[in-house]
Symmetry: C2
Subunit: 127 residues, 2 copies
């Protein structure tokens, strides 16, 4: 284990997403969940998850022969960190600009826009 809180790489993020969705999982389970999108061998997934354990992105329970992995940071926390990172790197620190670009993404439906607006109102009230 080493430094915590490092931007996860692409491959690591894909694995984290499986762990967030499924909860604690074995390498086999993660690998199968990724099979749709990735075409890599089992040992590749294994190696990545071992590295992630070294980095402190996941923990594993080694009680049984088949180890069981869990994400350490939660989904929200990691997403938050990734957004902040992108805001800093590409938007000069302006979250509003990022939101603007997000809105102009093709897939944004009107329902989604209303949802976002509601989120903002809720959020402002909480302050």
């Amino acid at each position: 284990m080493a430094r915590p809180q490092l931007r996860p790489t692409d491959a690591e993020l894909a694995i984290l997403r499986v762990l967030w969705e499924r909860g604690a999982s074995t390498v086999r389970q993660v690998h199968e969940a990724l099979a749709d999108t990735r075409e890599t061998g089992y040992t590749t997934t294994l190696k990545l998850m071992q590295i992630m354990a070294d980095k402190g992105l996941v923990t594993r329970n080694e009680t049984a022969r088949t180890h069981v992995y869990s994400a350490i940071a939660g989904e929200e926390q990691t997403q938050h960190q990734l957004v902040r990172d992108l805001v800093d790197r590409a938007f000069g620190g302006s979250a509003a600009q990022l939101v603007l670009r997000a809105l102009s993404a093709d897939g944004t439906t009107d329902a989604e826009l209303r949802e976002i607006r509601k989120l903002i109102d809720d959020y402002r009230e909480k302050r």
Copy 2:
């Protein structure tokens, strides 16, 4: 020059941001603009910009001995692409979720929240 539209790396994005702000610039100008944040040698910046020209991220005018570089993709287009990429990799395609995380970023001021809300209203009207 090779494949266009590739996610720019961190160092590349920093250079692009200078080119967007200053417009067409020499390596020297870019390097000096980056001097505040980066502590790398001149030839590092040069090499990066040469690579970016290979990748098709920038073009350069070689008429004069001192080449003049320009970003090919605009700031908006690149930001859009980066956001979309992050939405896909970390938010399962939901731009709304990304916006939610952006809002809970520490630095988001109330003024910014109002601004974002206004952006959404404007954007909905445009539809």
